[in-house]
Symmetry: C2
Subunit: 341 residues, 2 copies
């Protein structure tokens, strides 16, 4: 396997470069064979690299970028007026062949636009998709896509998302013949709209895929499917609604615990002794959405990620680069499209 080099946009995210460099320090130790190219404003990053003893570390290379894309920059504008942004410079290390994956916690719209413009989609791939892994009740992971790269999709695009998601489940989670499903408002064949029904017919026809039918939202975490496909509008709302519910429950628990010291004591006791079974569900571990369908690996970290969460996004980038996911997707898409001919 060739040596990996991961480009990191150090300037994106709400918490500034400090959490990025803290995450980098962890990654440098975890992956001694991987190189990291940190992109951002030199003056701002040098003291942070010094702080973590990374300034002259053989695995770390600092690349200066003059501009920063702000969280409220419009995607198109960021593309036209900020060609020297840390995000764009980091993406260019991929097309230059210097790096194999890129991680950014910056403006999602700008990342999708800049990545699409800089990297292009793989041959045959209609649209890139934003994909995340979700924990499920069987102890494994389910891959959900699209999470918002495409407000609406035609059925062929949904079909391709199924193909790409299956490659991810197979190579990142080691699932043979991943079960692919379409998210719908019912399980019966007649449910939903023409787009999902046509996508279902297309997926069912394809002999190389293990399509299991429609699933409803209540099976998003049940593990019934390894890959759950929907358009970006539906996926975004589904994922964020779950985020909203989780926040609500946690707030309510906090109120309960704050109402008596004894409850807090009980809770800490329970927490200490059961953290192993809960640990895998921590949102931090699932930080790092993949923008798949492009010619290189691009990972979007949550804007408000902590250092631990950003580290998970770096891990995701290493895993996808290590598995050469874009190459695998390219071959699978080619194989599936040729089946049709």
């Amino acid at each position: 396997m060739p040596e990996l080099n991961i480009a990191i946009d150090a300037m994106g995210g709400d918490n500034g470069p400090s959490i990025v460099i803290e995450a980098l320090e962890k990654a440098v130790h975890r992956y001694p064979d991987v190189k990291f190219t940190v992109v951002g404003h030199e003056q701002e990053l040098t003291p942070l690299l010094d702080k973590f003893n990374l300034s002259s570390h053989p695995s770390v290379n600092l690349v200066h970028a003059e501009q920063v894309i702000e969280m409220d920059d419009k995607p198109g504008q960021s593309l036209r007026s900020k060609p020297e942004s840390s995000m764009r410079v980091a993406l260019q290390t991929l097309t230059d062949g210097n790096c194999q994956a890129m991680v950014s916690g910056g403006n999602t719209g700008a990342l999708m636009t800049n990545a699409y413009f800089t990297l292009k989609t793989l041959p045959g791939v209609l649209r890139p998709a934003l994909m995340t892994a979700l924990p499920n009740q069987t102890g494994g992971k389910s891959y959900l896509l699209d999470l918002g790269a495409n407000a609406s999709c035609d059925s062929e695009t949904l079909f391709q998302f199924g193909v790409m998601g299956a490659v991810a489940a197979e190579y990142l989670s080691g699932v043979p013949a991943p079960k692919i499903s379409l998210l719908n408002m019912g399980e019966e064949d007649i449910k939903g709209n023409d787009v999902v029904r046509n996508a279902a017919a297309r997926l069912a026809q394809c002999e190389q895929l293990n399509y299991i039918g429609f699933i409803e939202g209540n099976h998003l975490f049940s593990g019934r499917a390894d890959v759950v496909v929907c358009d970006g509008f539906v996926g975004n709302v589904a994922l964020k609604s779950c985020e909203g519910l989780a926040t609500f429950i946690i707030d309510q628990m906090r109120d309960t615990l704050n109402s008596h010291w004894l409850y807090r004591f009980f809770f800490r006791f329970l927490q200490k002794r059961t953290h192993k079974s809960w640990d895998r569900l921590k949102p931090d571990h699932y930080n790092g959405a993949s923008l798949i369908g492009l010619r290189h690996v691009v990972i979007k970290s949550h804007g408000s990620a902590s250092a631990g969460a950003f580290y998970s996004a770096i891990q995701q980038a290493v895993a996808e680069a290590h598995e050469q996911l874009p190459e695998r997707i390219k071959h699978r898409v080619e194989a599936v499209l040729s089946e049709q001919l």
Copy 2:
């Protein structure tokens, strides 16, 4: 106020008529001034009514229906081949003027089709919508619609859902000038698709409405909006995904509690002492989705509802009938549509 009479389809739901009659007994005592018309198979219902001492109760009237719509009957088929179903007979008590609201735990698709056919939409209303109340972090409720009556909607339909939802929030929750929002994959004006953007423009123009803009899924439970509008596909997936996450968390908690008797002891202790603050979040209390936009009140109870949950659906029916919700929606829709002229 005229005397209320609530029609109850006793044959719908996975748990059979026994939970319906158990819920009825509770409702009869809670609402001594309300009459109840129980519709279903006489031979099956009589022993159950006897069991709960309701056979000769002055508030309870049994109406025989020969047919039952099964959970797997196709909606159109149920309409054509089962004109004597308990569901249809119960709906007809509304058009006959004998009852003011109807509750059913039966086949959702069949209920929507039979209700639409039997009752028709209110003048000016394009489409009925399925609506539910959700608890929120401010201690109040937010109304979410549509939950699946319409797989796709045009912008005028979404606009009308906003109008109808606001009437519900105003009269059922007592919120003056309810904050109306559209569920979208981002908060910026440019986000989403043409349908939501046009609906947003339409809502913003209307002076009689308090439209606050787009919200994302993570604000579904925050209380930022009193009314959250989306098409039935998105609403169905959002609500069911939350259901799926809640099930996952509860299962995970059960595993934790089952791993040691001490944890169970702690939990029961905590549960007893904090049940008040958690009680309002129990799903049972939110059972009963309203099919609004029709000329009469129709409430859909969850198919797997317990007696307690079915009782909540009856309460919802009584509240909407008491507030004459269809009449109020009719006037508001008229007023809003005339503003446009």
